[in-house]
Each structure stands twice: as C-alpha cells, then as structure tokens.
Subunit: 150 residues, 2 copies
C-alpha cells in the first residue's frame, strides 16, 4: 500500500473515468439536489457559465469560452441550450454587433443558489479524506495537464 509500490496506473484512464463519474453524479443525484428548486440538473460547464455571468454581467461569448477553456463552437452550443432552458439571455452588443453579451434570466439567477449548494456538496465529497496539501498537489497536477497539452 506504500505510495510508490504499484506501477503507476494509467492516469489518462483515471481522469476519463473520474470525469464521467462526475458527469453522471450531476445528472443523477444532482437533479434532486444541485438544482433543487429548478428541478433540472445543471451540468458543470453550465454551472461555470452561470457563475461567470453572475460575476460578470454582460460578459461576451468569447469571455465565457476562455473561462471554460472550451472551444468557441462548444460554448456556442452550450449557450444555445442554456438559452433554450431560459437560464441566460443573449443580446447583441449595440456598439459592436459581432459580439454577443450575456445576462442571467430570473430563472438563471434563481438557479444560482442551488448551483452553489450542489457545487459545495460535490466539492465536499471530492475533497473528503484528503489533506489540503494533497488536494493542492492534485490541483497542481490537473492544471499541469491542462497546460502541458495545450
């Protein structure tokens, strides 16, 4: 059981599996707790959008794209679905009609509390049993992954 005994497992697979498990959890239990009031599960990327737009009203699609580290196409699709779900509103910037500015709808604002609560619970579960140092290592590694493959 000593840390370095076993040949390090394939981290690629572990990350893939972990991400899918998170997605499943959000879709499943999440629908009963994360979104609580609204009743529908809000995916991690969607939650990211809600939080970003809440902190930066009038944010552009490009800003959201950067914040999520997604592709423009992916962000566009996500925002379209979120608009269909009445969570955000898209509005063409009158000063530069190429850019689209985003705002939360009342529904989106109302969903915020549930999102924050769900995120907190998820974070609690994910961090449970690990020291701050260990979690810092994990975070550093995840950032390393994101940046080294860029």
């Amino acid at each position: 059981m000593t840390a370095a005994r076993r040949r390090p497992p394939r981290l690629v697979f572990l990350v893939t599996a972990a991400e899918r498990q998170i997605r499943r959890w959000i879709a499943g239990r999440g629908s009963a707790q994360t979104a609580a009031s609204s009743g529908q599960a809000i995916s991690a990327p969607a939650a990211g959008v809600l939080l970003h737009v809440a902190n930066h009203p009038g944010a552009t699609v490009g800003e959201v794209t950067a914040a999520l580290q997604a592709s423009p196409a992916g962000a566009s699709g996500l925002l379209a679905r979120m608009e269909r779900a009445d969570l955000v509103r898209r509005r063409t910037d009158p000063d530069d009609r190429r850019t689209v500015r985003l705002d939360l709808t009342p529904t989106g604002t109302a969903a915020l509390d549930g999102v924050r609560a769900g995120l907190a619970e998820l974070n609690d579960r994910l961090t449970d049993g690990f020291t701050a140092d260990e979690l810092a290592t994990v975070a550093r590694w995840l950032e390393h992954v994101t940046h080294t493959l860029r």
Copy 2:
C-alpha cells in the same frame, strides 16, 4: 505559492477541463503520433477497448463495459463505431446467444503498437515534473472520485 495558500480551486472544473484537454490532444497531435501507422486518432476509451480485448480475446461487451466503467449503452455505441472502423469484430457467442464476444481485427492488432506508444507519450507528458509520491496521491484521488460518487 505555498501549497495551501489560495482557496482550493473548484476541482470539478479542473477535472472537466483536464479531461477535455486530453481528448483534444489525442484528437489533434494524437492523429499524427498515437495512431502513427493507421493514421486515425484512437480515443482513450477506444484504446482501452483495444488493450482489454488484446489481453482478453473473446471478451464480452459486459466485460468491456466494466473495464471502461462505462454504461452498457456507451460501450455498445463505442464498439459499433470501432467495428465500423474495422478495429474489432463482434461475434455472437454460440453457447449463449445473448452475449457478444469481441476480437481484434488485424487492423486492430496492428493499431496496438501505436496505441501503446501514444499512451506512453501521453503518460510521460502527464507525469513530467511530478514525483512518484505526488502521482500516487493524484491516482488515489482520482480513484476516490470514481468510487465516492458511485
């Protein structure tokens, strides 16, 4: 910069971003290196299938599903695409015609070397700059995520 200084970033987002980055890397640079000979990028789950079936010829769909920690539906779809790409063959078990047994095609077998090489390179990049202990912590955390949300 001390480890525990900043409020721990939202691990959920980091995992999500890292997984997407891995997927992008495989699809992009991967097509030129991972699959080398065959020429087409092989996704992480597809690589998992190839390796599992190589080690367990005649494996069933259920076994692959468990190995990948995927849903039966997801595995089924993946296998359908892999069969379309001529990487695996599906054959009904004559002793129990509900189960489907899997084997690698010659193409699939030929792709194995490239897959292993790509996986090794990816693993090198992912582990670069981290000690064995740190990586063990990361692996332990990823497994914790997978299991605690189950």
